[in-house]
Symmetry: C2
Subunit: 373 residues, 2 copies
């Protein structure tokens, strides 16, 4: 199928670029001597997970139990659910385990640990728990030197559940744009979780899994001594947010939105696309280092970058593109096709139920996605 | 069903508030002597459209042909597709008309008008065309005094298609926050399209429909002489974006996201919710007039506002709530439920396949939605 046969806006996945990105990260994990457990929050697709595992991944990471169920039903059962557990979801987690999932759950909260211990003991469910550590991101996680770390481990040790290990995520690596800073945050990420592991081991607990990861730190880590696994997700397709801080090149970005030109507002100096806030998301993550990117980089229908042409603003169903000069109206007539390299791949992809998989410029396949909760 | 039986995050629709919002706008349209053609881009639900039509709406507005098809299949056939037409969609539009839809399409482009005329004549399809006018929003539309306006009308007059009329949207009403400014933009909106209609009539064209609308201008318009219909959408549920500029009160907001507390990061002074960027959208429209709102206003599970508690930042699956003081941790334990009043209802609702319809605090129904393209 040709691109001109697709309705717009629609999501394109460049299979060649994705495969290269997957191979590159697997080689990094292999070199660093750690397992790779890719985060499927970006691709949310069983076909993508199969490609990752075929390339050497040891299992997957997910951000919802709906994702966990989707992947487990499709034969991908080694799953870490890397969002804080709540007691109301323990029954669903138990059902997933009964359905064959080797599920790891996570918390940073003593009360939740007690609820897990209680549910494990009452129902004989051997929940596997990761304790979340905050390595500087200030999202979830305990400080590595906190008292609660040992308290949670003790509560779990006294139950039918088991302590699987520790997990951290250096989300603050998204706030910097140079090699030295990425390397430093990768060390912070490693050091926080290794220190926490040492405290647990000193208190007599086994710590099997010591898990770190974010795309920038994974790509720039030099030494992961003490760490057992790496998680990352957006590296599979990259995006303009990653490009804006030097984590990837535009020709590594494997995801794009195919869009139609639907209008010219010559009085306002704009081309209008049918890819607006819903089709691209309103994520503005590239603003810090490349504010000109706006809501995405324009490419022609074949994926070649169009220099200095960006989605400068969006409304719900309209992408507004400030023209460089009046010749752009003739170059991009109403009805013509353009591609947008998205700012944040995870956010953009979530607006679509499937990927149009491209090989050699043709749509070779359609991969499904699991969205929602 | 009780709220505690719902998985989170999930979308709640307060039926009582929605009904009151619908009645209020219908009364305004009746008073101004115009038809009301609500924009279903916000609710995207057949049950909602039925409620609007039962209250007096003359038809509906949509933003995709997928929406048009969804509504037409459910018996709501008087539809204006208010996004610029492209030639590649003319066959789909013809199919919808063959399936019974009284579809109105729109352009502001002479080349597209020629394509419509050609397709109409070749295939005997009586497309009904609205010409889009830009009244100051700088999105789509011709200037009311432009030469192309008459050229498009002539091209259509010479074809099997028919000129239905004119349409404009004062999206720039979202950029102001006081009655005088809303009233002034409502006059601009009216004057632009009425002037364009006078030019068309002077040139011998019939102009049946003269359509204006945006929620702020619809609510504040004092006189719509010359206008035949009003379009607006977000007034059905409102949101914090509208509240931030004084267009509604928080107790008129009919849409909220039910969310679970999934963590406390006491070192960072945060409560974490399971409603993040995907569940709320990354829309920051309230920033201009109420930057403290961030990504949403927190309410308790029963919908009562919690003063000064907002979703201050988001990552993909996490909403970060800066606590007011340490007592908030005990007040909102992990596992407890909170509601978020969204910043931009249209963007937030698009992350969900259905509404949980609330009556008297109970889930009384589930309404489906049509998302995507």
């Amino acid at each position: 199928m040709n691109l001109t046969d697709l309705p717009t806006p629609t999501l394109l996945l460049d299979h060649h670029r994705m495969t290269a990105n997957i191979a590159r990260m697997q080689a990094i994990a292999d070199r660093l001597g750690v397992k790779l457990r890719p985060h499927l929050k970006t691709l949310k697709s069983a076909q993508a997970a199969e490609a990752l595992i075929a390339a050497g991944a040891s299992g997957i990471t997910v951000s919802t139990l709906k994702e966990a169920d989707y992947f487990n039903q499709r034969g991908i059962s080694d799953i870490t659910y890397a969002v804080g557990m709540v007691p109301a979801r323990l029954a669903d987690a138990a059902s997933l385990m009964a359905a064959g999932a080797d599920l790891k759950i996570m918390t940073d909260n003593l009360e939740v640990a007690r609820a897990i211990a209680k549910a494990a003991s009452q129902n004989g469910v051997k929940y596997k728990l990761l304790i979340e550590i905050d390595c500087g991101d200030n999202r979830g996680g305990l400080q590595a030197d906190s008292a609660e770390l040992l308290q949670i481990a003790e509560v779990i040790a006294d139950s039918c559940a088991s302590l699987q290990g520790l997990l951290t995520h250096a989300g603050h690596s998204y706030g910097v744009d140079n090699t030295a800073a990425f390397e430093q945050i990768a060390m912070q990420e490693r050091d926080a979780v290794v220190m926490a592991a040492e405290r647990l081991r000193a208190a007599g607990h086994e710590v099997e899994t010591i898990s770190v990861g974010s795309t920038p730190t994974a790509l720039f880590a030099r030494d992961l001594s003490g760490v057992t696994e790496l998680r990352a997700g957006v590296y599979t397709v990259f995006d303009m947010d990653q490009q804006s801080r030097g984590v990837c090149e535009t020709d590594e970005i494997a995801l794009s939105v195919l869009s139609s030109v639907i209008g010219h507002n010559k009085a306002a100096g704009k081309i209008l696309l049918d890819a607006g806030g819903l089709a691209l998301s309103k994520d503005r993550s590239a603003d810090r280092f490349r504010p000109e990117v706006g809501y995405g980089q324009l490419c022609d229908a074949d994926g070649r970058i169009i220099p200095n042409l960006f989605v400068t603003s969006v409304s719900q169903e309209h992408g507004h593109v400030r023209v460089r000069d009046d010749s752009d109206y003739a170059r991009f007539p109403v009805g013509s096709l353009l591609r947008v390299l998205p700012v944040h791949a995870c956010m953009t992809a979530a607006a679509y139920d499937y990927f149009n998989v491209l090989e050699n410029g043709q749509v070779s396949d359609r991969w499904d996605r699991v969205n929602g909760w």
